[in-house]
Amino acid sequence: MGREEMPALPRAKLRVPMPLKLTVPELQAIAKRIRREIIEMIGAAKSGHPGGSLSAVEMIVTLYFHVMRHDPQNPKWPDRDRFILSKGHAAPVLYAAMAECGYTPLDQLNTLRKLGSMYQGHPDVRFIPSLEASTGSLGEGVSLALGMALAARMNGSPSRTFVMLGDGEIQEGQVWESAMFAAFYKVDNLVALVDYNGIQLDGFVKDIMEVAPLAAKWRAFGWHTVEIDGHNIPVLQAAFKEASETKGKPTAIIAHTIKGKGVSFMENNPKFHGTAPTPDEVKLALQELQ
């Protein structure tokens, strides 16, 4: 099925700067479209990380189309809100969202991971200058976000910074160095989202290196903590609103998600952390994502 046959975005509503005033069903439609793009991109690339891209879709859609103030026509707008994908291996979900916003060409998504493509294996600002950061080595995103959030605070800018981490990623010690720092400096224009899908490359997080109790850990490090269903858009909207109203503390949103969400044979299956679907699996997945 070609791209032209896909359900169209309500493009007439696109205007800048973001966010758009979209209804929840419209946001859900974008989420479905992005899921299809993720499958197609990774299928075409024959390598990549579908599971953790699919688990993050609603969070990314809510951020890019409902929460963040940003302007695809003016990506370097100094007062924009910023997003950092600390779990850089989920690049396909970010690329699809940025393409849907108009930052980058939709019709090149399927060049993912190919020589010369702007859609590099992990986010790379050298290829897409409108990305906020190059990422891919786990554990570094909150620190990066802190530098940006503190710079905004020093400049008196309303800019807020959002950073998404994987649940396996938080096994990295640097995450906790940065968590301690953020609370100590009361960086309340910073929001960390943990994509708590319970699976990392080698298997289930609980079997590799347990991270629970996750919310309690962030709370103990001095963060305002919200624990939610990461696929429920209205719930996500409420959580981001709560974060924006929380002063004197950074906010951590612990989002319970399903790895591979939306594609039955990928859901909760560690195999699809870092394995591309075969052409037949792509067909099956796209049928499910009608």
């Binding site: 950061a133 080595s137 570094e140 620190s143 530098g147 959030a149 940065s178 720092f181």
Partner: protein, 322 residues
């Protein structure tokens, strides 16, 4: 015979780390975008001076170098000019992954200053000694790596590094350093300085070893050996032309540095010599070992980093050149 005034009196000046801390305050007054991060060593790195004058632009990061380096990356993405400082061994080793992916890969405008470099930190022992940093810092694509010899060059090069757009690593020392340069000396990143003319052999030195090279030159001159001394204050990018000329005009090169020979300046100079004008080379540096506690003077002596060792290397080079 009337004694001529020596070209270099090598009077003891301030440590290069102190010159850095003072220069940083000067830079901070001129440029509001400079922010400074330190990892609980600000009294030793002299960033405490900046903290005192600009408390709103100073961030104590606690003992967490990885986070500190990556925060600097975030600052740079947002248009600030972050300067991060710690003991060299901690910032380069504990922050290396962050220097690589967060700073070097997107080529961010971050300045990294390592203090207490080399073994002349003395009594603290090898866990605090940085002897691998030249190799590590130079391995990062796009990084400029600076190693000043004295307070004059440290001051000028810190200011030049801040004006340079892109990542820079600066290597500074704990000990008071002999003053090599007149106060009005001009420095340019990447441009080596020929301190003495010479035709028999060249000593290429950096950091504290520049003064030792000068002492060696004075002693050898008395024997009628003409030594060219070159200060390589910028280890990356290297002054290819100065090295090529030294090789072709003197036919023998000794490289002297307070660093492991593996991965050090000498290896980098040898590459350029091999590519331009192959000649005899000898190396003064630390030979594949970690040092120990002792006074800085004792350690420099024991590990072969004084003028005596430069002189011995020159003699070896001249013997091989024959």
């Amino acid at each position: 015979m009337t004694p001529t005034k020596p070209k270099f009196d090598l009077k003891l000046g301030m440590a290069t780390r102190e010159a850095f801390g003072k220069a940083l305050v000067v830079a901070g007054r001129e440029n509001q975008d400079i922010v400074v991060c330190d990892a609980d060593l600000s009294k030793s790195t002299y960033t405490s001076l900046f903290h005192h004058e600009f408390p709103d632009r100073f961030f104590s990061c606690g003992i967490a170098e990885a986070n500190m380096v990556a925060i600097a990356g975030g600052f740079a993405y947002a248009g600030k000019i972050p300067v991060v400082a710690s003991f060299s061994c901690f910032v380069i080793n504990k922050g290396f992954e962050q220097l690589r992916v967060t700073v070097a890969y997107p080529k961010l405008n971050v300045k990294v200053v390592g203090t207490h470099s080399g073994i002349s930190i003395g009594e603290y022992g090898p866990s605090q000694m940085s002897v691998e940093e030249t190799g590590l810092a130079c391995s990062l694509p796009g990084f400029v790596v600076i190693s000043p010899a004295d307070e004059v060059s440290a001051t000028a090069l810190v200011l030049a590094a801040i004006k340079h757009v892109g990542p820079v690593f600066i290597r500074t020392g704990r000990m008071k350093a002999p003053i090599v340069y007149p106060a009005d000396q001009k420095f340019e990143i990447g441009k080596a300085i020929e301190l003495t003319e010479g035709s028999d052999v060249t000593v290429i030195a950096t950091g504290l070893l520049v003064a030792e090279a000068i002492r060696a030159q004075v002693a050898l001159e008395a024997e009628g050996i003409s030594v060219r001394v070159i200060d390589i204050h910028t280890i990356k990018p290297l002054d290819r032309d100065a090295i090529r000329r030294a090789a072709s005009e003197t036919g023998a090169i000794v490289v002297a540095e307070e660093h492991l020979i593996d991965g050090g300046l000498g290896v980098r100079v040898a590459q350029i010599v091999a590519e331009t004008h192959p000649c005899v080379m000898e190396f003064v540096g630390i030979h594949d070992t970690y040092a120990e506690s002792g006074t800085p003077e004792q350690l420099l002596d024991k590990y072969g980093l004084v003028s005596r060792d430069v002189i011995a290397a020159v003699r070896r080079a001249l013997n091989r050149k024959k």
